[in-house]
């Protein structure tokens, strides 16, 4: 057995380039939200270059000259924060950047989601957004790739396509009137997820890029959902012509996942966790570097805080060096 006790420690920031770290520092230099900002007197307000952190319900300013932006509301003529986050000011507009956000999607985003409900001609999918996304029966491919209108018989066997709990990778197709996302899986790239493990990171850490499907050199496939849900799985040949279209809705994992594969998957998963723990943007390059950095440690030691920190540090340095 293997157990260790630690004292809590303050976060130590990763030194080096801030390029891929989430540290926007703009707009903080001239922050003076005290009431007497007009005559420029030094009030007891926020001093330059300090982060102004607020909690929900905290009054940001009682000056009526300011306008309320995102994350704030007005109560008794005061601007009050509605989220926990950092105050951002652009001229007269005050907004609060939340520390923790839900996913806000755009059309064309690749997301990973979990089916939560089977309803009339549709599935509800948890994509870590404010409300469940919707996957219509009409926006999926039928097994075997038959092209036809969905009939009542299809409606009756919806659970044979996707069941509650199933993980899917899909694309945001449209928005509904109430802001819910409509997804589709009408491509062989999309569909049910198998042969691997699920990791959830803050959605802000996954950025939009050319491809969200990656095959790493270590024989592991990674799907980076823009909603912060990540699927790490054993490599399956991705030749779209060779996919058995009858099996797209199968629940069976492939038989030949070796312990080696499992170790690589766990290693990649732990790398992603280590990066997310340090709030580093997650993409295929940095995952590969983190994986290489992790090879010097034993797999079961990778849950240790200091090793996770070391891996993340090494990976960021490697990316910096590569960029010159």
């Amino acid at each position: 057995m293997n157990v260790s006790f630690h004292s809590p420690a303050p976060r130590t920031a990763i030194s080096g380039s801030k390029a891929h770290r989430q540290s926007k520092q703009h707009g903080l230099e001239d922050m003076e939200l005290d009431g007497d900002h007009e005559d420029g007197a030094n009030g007891s307000g926020v001093k330059a270059s300090t982060l102004h952190v607020v909690t929900p319900g905290e009054v940001i300013t009682n000056d009526t000259a300011f306008m309320r932006g995102h994350g704030t509301y007005i109560e008794n003529e005061k601007v009050v924060s509605s989220v926990a986050g950092v105050v951002d000011r652009v001229n007269k507009l005050i907004s609060v950047r939340p520390l923790h956000t839900r996913y806000t999607g755009e059309i064309g985003d690749v997301v990973v989601g979990r089916i939560t409900e089977v309803a009339q001609k549709r599935w509800k999918v948890d994509v870590s957004a404010r409300q469940d996304a919707i996957l219509m029966l009409s926006s999926i491919n039928l097994p075997g790739g038959v092209q036809r209108r969905k009939q009542e018989s299809d409606e009756l066997q919806m659970r044979s396509f996707f069941m509650e709990g199933d993980l899917v990778v899909a694309e945001v197709q449209a928005f509904f009137g109430d802001g819910a996302y409509s997804l589709h899986t009408r491509s062989l790239k999309y569909g049910k997820l198998r042969n691997g493990t699920f990791i959830s990171v803050p959605p802000a850490l996954v950025q939009r890029c050319k491809s969200h499907f990656h095959s790493l050199a270590c024989g592991v496939d990674v799907i980076l959902g823009l909603n912060g849900y990540i699927w790490v799985s054993a490599h399956v040949p991705q030749n779209l012509d060779e996919i058995d279209t009858e099996l797209v809705y199968s629940n069976k994992n492939k038989e030949d996942i070796t312990p080696r594969d499992r170790e690589s998957i766990a290693r990649v998963g732990n790398c992603i966790r280590a990066l997310a723990d340090e709030f580093i943007f997650i993409n295929d390059t940095i995952i590969s570097f983190a994986y290489e950095a992790s090879l010097q440690y034993k797999l079961k030691d990778m849950n240790k805080k200091e090793i996770m920190h070391a891996i993340a540090t090494e990976a960021t340095t490697a990316v910096d060096n590569m960029k010159g």
């Binding site: 057995m1 293997n2 157990v3 260790s4 006790f5 630690h6 004292s7 809590p8 420690a9 303050p10 976060r11 979990r114 089916i115 939560t116 069941m163 509650e164 709990g165 199933d166 993980l167 049910k192 997820l193 198998r194 042969n195 691997g196 493990t197 699920f198 629940n251 069976k252 994992n253 996942i257 312990p259 499992r262 170790e263 998957i265 766990a266 290693r267 998963g269 732990n270 966790r273 797999l299 079961k300 990778m302 849950n303 240790k304 805080k305």
Partner: protein, 328 residues
Amino acid sequence: MPSLISPSERDYILKGIECNIRADGRQRPDYREVILETGVISQTSGSARVRLAGGTDVLVSVKADIGPVLVDPETGEGADKGQIICNVECAPSASQQFEGRGADELNNELTQMMTRFLSHNTTTLSTPSSTTPSSTGAPNNNGAGGINLSKLCIIPGEQCWILYVDALVLDYGGNLVDAVFMGTRAAIFDTRIPKTEVQDLGDGNFDFEVLDDAEDTEVVEGREDMPICITLNKIGARHIVDASPLEELCTEAKLVVAVNRSGELCGLQKGQDGGIEPSLLLEMIQFGKTLGQTLIKQLDAKIKAEAEADTIKRQNGQPVVKLGFFAQ
């Protein structure tokens, strides 16, 4: 706390456990890192915060209060005993499932489990079949709970100390029970009860005074013999400790083993609807016992190290700063 899992994930976890590689790279008997701090809430007699690296976050507080003794009307027992009143609450911020009345069942289960394991010899909840009384330890009024309740009595038949043990679950990342009990042990170790002075007023009347001096305090007697819990999750034909939320969803049967520092079984509770074969059950209990002993040893070492560091700081006149909620 996810409530759903896909069949392929379940299969992947099951086979992973079979070949001793869990989804996060741990092996079956591996715990995650535990982050522990005692004395985090100044208003309490003792407190601790325990976090498991995967997210579970539990805050435990112990408050010593004076109240009337609880006498069993039938047996007349309890006149010379203090009380321990446990309460476990899952905050709705820990998981979506805990919102509204969602956590009620879990709160109840954990509260009753803690009451049973800590103050086993109070008459109300004794279930002799599930516990074996400690065979070592001098006077056997400590019961399986370890804590010497007689010591908590101030005036027999009248007043006693009541220890309110409150655990608040702030975040959920699997393996709640173990974290709650580790936190409780740490909080009880941190607890200081003021000394009392009893005066005999004659005619069988007694009065007492609580000494105000912060130096003049007592520790909870019998705290070393308190049990902690090891939760064993049976997945497939194997069992694992410190399950992650997804692993908990694959669990067929769960066995909570309460163990004290001498490796004695202080309590047992089975959860979930799957069955455990008799041979596996014995193996699991044995495994829980050995593991629990090691865990207690390391936990105690950590608690002791922290207490000593605090004492040294106090002696040198330095402020004892607790990071509390300002650390990761």
